[in-house]
């Protein structure tokens, strides 16, 4: 199952490196969407069905942590599933890790420089979670579009 991954970093080279690392880590098959800062990412997230996001911290306009807080607020308001949000950043003090994970609501944290092996270890649970949420969304969509008589389930029996 293909996951739509939003890669957010103000450095184009770093976005390419994250995408290359994720592809080589083979945790999932990805379709990438890129954003240069948190504000652009938020717009892309609203317009597209994003399954997972990899977020830089220090960016102009809207930082990564501000983006994470905003996404969590939106998810709560809309009663949406919380998609995995992973910080990919040069910040590495304990205070910053806590701020991202505990205060903002990020799911994971990976420090630059990262290796493919590190990605495989640290990101697996997040890509797994993204796949579970994607399956659930796909099933819900299918249920909404399939006529009751074709479902074969109790709805089909009732209305078939």
């Amino acid at each position: 199952m293909k996951l739509k991954a939003l890669v957010i970093d103000d450095s184009g080279v770093m976005r390419k490196m994250v995408m290359k690392g994720l592809t080589e880590a083979k945790l999932a098959e990805f379709e990438f969407v890129e954003a240069e800062d948190g504000q652009i990412a938020l717009d892309k997230l609203k317009a597209d069905e994003i399954d997972i996001a990899f977020v830089d911290w220090n960016m102009p306009n809207m930082t990564g942590v501000e983006f994470v807080k905003e996404v969590r607020k939106l998810e709560k308001r809309n009663c949406d599933d919380a998609i995995p949000l992973v910080m990919v950043t040069s910040e590495k003090t304990m205070g910053k890790v806590q701020e991202a994970l505990d205060e903002a609501g990020a799911d994971g944290f990976i420090s630059k420089p990262f290796t493919v092996e590190e990605m495989q270890v640290k990101l697996k649970k997040h890509t797994d979670k993204a796949q579970i949420i994607r399956s659930r969304k796909n099933r819900a969509k299918q249920g909404a579009t399939t006529p009751p008589e074709a479902t074969g389930g109790w709805l089909g029996k009732m209305f078939g």
Partner: protein, 171 residues
């Protein structure tokens, strides 16, 4: 000792130590190598260069520039990004910015261990032939010259004038 003997422009040694430790750790992680620090601190970059620059605020305001020559930059960029990046391309600015950003993150962590608070800015990029960062020398400037397999590069540390007296433990 009279007060005039205290140089408040000079960068605290703890910061220089943290920069050196961070550079060695970050460089080893990216390029699997420990670069060699030159014996003297002269600023000898004369040809076309690019620099990633970051400022730090906190207990001691200062800035760091990672200066790469036209010869060294593409070698480092190739290893860092995993693909070829020409010296004159905009992507080279991204690489210079990202390299100094990563070392700055490590510096903040190293300074925290030394009980020095620091918050880093976003990186900016400078290019020039020769690259001129002012002031070029003086008590507030430290130049570190490193040599590695990829070539020679420089770190330029500049303290914000007269603020090092605010360091913890100093009166």
């Amino acid at each position: 000792m009279s007060n005039s003997a205290i140089n408040t422009d000079a960068l605290p040694p703890a910061i220089i130590d943290a920069v050196q430790a961070s550079l060695e750790k970050t460089y080893a992680a990216f390029f699997s190598e420990k670069p060699v620090l030159g014996a003297n601190g002269q600023d000898r970059h004369t040809g076309p260069c690019i620099a990633g620059i970051i400022s730090f605020l906190g207990d001691a305001p200062w800035s760091l520039a990672w200066i790469l020559s036209q010869e060294t930059a593409p070698m480092l960029a190739q290893k860092f990004a995993g693909f070829e990046i020409p010296f004159d391309s905009p992507d080279m600015g991204d690489v210079a910015g990202e390299l100094v950003n990563v070392i700055a993150g490590e510096i903040v962590a190293q300074l925290e261990k030394r009980r020095i608070k620091a918050v880093m800015s976003l990186p900016t990029i400078a290019r020039g032939s020769p690259l001129q960062l002012v002031p070029e020398s003086g008590p507030s400037i430290v130049h570190l010259e490193y040599t590695s397999r990829e070539g020679t590069f420089w770190l330029r540390l500049a303290s914000a004038k007269g603020r090092s007296a605010c360091m913890p433990g100093k009166q």
